[in-house]
């Protein structure tokens, strides 16, 4: 218990002192996860809406694949991205292994099914007659779909929060494909693992506290944008 209390005190000192390596890991974490979230959202929003609203052959299989993807172990994703980006791999020519680009690729693969699955569930929760009503008012299919996504905005925000939470907190994939190189690919989670292994519990706790606080603040801000997403029915 004493170690834990001392660790927290030391963590506060480190944060207050503005430790350079600590803030470097913070910056890279949010840079990598932020870019991965945007890319995953660009794919996951339309894909989720399509799966939620569309009726086509193979839809059930596609949904089963998305649900499976929502539970993908990050370390398995990391392993496959590693193999694809390694020198002998099909994308080895890119030279992305042990760079932030490889970490972004891995995190996009983790976040995409999460965002897709939650968006799909959110748009499926919108009254199915809404699209028909909007269509009958002269909307095109795209315009009606955008309106349905807007109506499902509460669920869409949950999708983004879940996607962000899933990637900013994962360690297995970024450790494998990033390599935890200081000043280059060391992010908060991999730094926490390293500091713990070295017995530097105060630094590990400091990093953990920062990760939690920043995640909390970001989620709070996103939830502020959520608004109210209930349909009006007579």
């Amino acid at each position: 218990m004493n170690d834990l209390a001392a660790g927290f005190l030391r963590a506060i000192e480190l944060i207050a002192a503005g430790d350079a390596s600590l803030w470097e890991a913070v910056g890279l974490s949010f840079q990598v996860s932020g870019i991965a979230l945007v890319l995953a959202a660009l794919g996951g929003l339309p894909l989720g809406a399509w799966l939620g609203l569309g009726r086509f052959r193979g839809r059930g299989l596609a949904i089963a694949l998305i649900y499976t993807g929502m539970g993908l172990p990050p370390v398995v994703v990391g392993l496959f991205v590693y193999l694809f980006l390694s020198r002998q791999g099909p994308f080895g020519f890119l030279g992305w292994l042990f760079t932030p680009n490889a970490m972004i690729v891995a995190q996009v693969i983790i976040a995409l099914p999460l965002i897709t699955g939650f968006v799909m569930a959110a748009v499926m929760g919108v009254d199915p007659d809404l699209r028909r009503q909007l269509y009958a008012l002269g909307a095109t299919t795209t315009q009606a779909t955008i309106a349905v996504i807007k109506e499902a905005r509460a669920g869409v925000v949950v999708a983004l929060v879940a996607g962000f939470g899933g990637i900013v907190s994962e360690v297995g994939a970024v450790m494998l494909v990033g390599g935890n190189i200081q000043g280059s690919t060391r992010v908060l989670t991999t730094a926490i693992v390293l500091e713990t292994r070295q017995g530097q519990f105060d630094r590990a706790i400091a990093l953990g506290v920062i990760l939690l606080v920043i995640s909390f603040v970001i989620n709070l801000a996103v939830l502020g944008l959520q608004g109210r997403g209930t349909l009006v029915k007579s």
């Binding site: 002269g138 095109t140 315009q143 109210r228």
Partner: protein, 246 residues
């Protein structure tokens, strides 16, 4: 001779898993510009299916519907421009989770018409809801929501207004108000209205012509007085007398 806006049929709509067609109009039915046509019939007669086809929200599975100079068939949808000449008001209004004004402006927005505050305000004044313009639509009563849905359909000044049981479950005040609006649009703009209802009294009050739909088929259609006073078909007589159970 009045200009024909719709020429309906022969047309058929079938749904998978159902042996009988939901809609099967054998004889072509012309609807003139400026008329108020009421289609009456019991629940499940195919009235709503007919309106969805007329609004081109749904394609027929057989036959055709002519709207203006375009034809809707199983293989061909109406153009967007033609589809936007008709507005459909559903029995159950589903409003967007936005203000009353934004809901009414939706049809204008999707047509790329922005900054048409005067038109939105005029539509709201037609349904006597100007005072609720800024209110969130989710706070409205059922009658107010239906009036907003009507304003949302009228703001785009459609050639055809299609109404699916627009006053079902509403109180007499709202029923009377909505009927007044439909009559006024008919008089002032010569707008064609097609209203489906199981309320024969409403059909008699509003329509210039009335048709009875039973099991997807049009049993009889006549001017309002003839339909109610001298119906030709025994089933129409039974429906008008209120003997038909529905």
């Amino acid at each position: 001779m009045s200009e024909t806006l719709y020429e309906i049929g022969p047309v058929e709509v079938r749904y998978p898993g159902r042996a009988a067609p939901a809609l099967a109009i054998a004889e072509p039915l012309a609807v003139a510009r400026g008329e108020i046509l009421a289609i009456v019939g019991p629940s499940g007669a195919g009235k709503s299916t007919l309106l969805r086809v007329l609004a081109a929200v749904e394609k027929p599975t057989g036959g055709q519907v002519r709207f203006g100079d375009e034809t809707l068939t199983p293989a061909r949808m109406l153009s967007l421009a033609a589809r936007r000449r008709a507005s459909l008001v559903f029995q159950r209004p589903i409003l967007l989770n936005e203000s009353v004004t934004d809901n009414v402006a939706y049809g204008l927005r999707v047509r790329g018409i922005h900054g048409a505050a005067a038109r939105v305000q005029h539509a709201l004044s037609l349904v006597q809801l100007s005072q609720l313009a800024r209110q969130p639509a989710r706070t409205l009563s059922g009658g107010e929501a239906q009036r907003v849905a009507l304003a949302r359909a009228l703001v785009v000044e459609p050639d055809a207004l299609l109404l699916d049981e627009p006053t079902a479950n509403l109180d007499p005040h709202n029923v009377s108000l909505i009927e007044q609006i439909i009559r006024a649009q008919h008089t002032q703009r010569a707008m064609t209205s097609i209203i489906v209802t199981h309320n024969i009294f409403q059909a008699r009050r509003l329509a210039t012509r009335v048709g009875l739909l039973l099991n997807g088929a049009l049993v009889e259609i006549a001017d309002t007085e003839t339909f109610f006073e001298r119906p030709r078909d025994e089933r129409t007589r039974a429906f008008v007398r209120g003997d038909m159970v529905y």
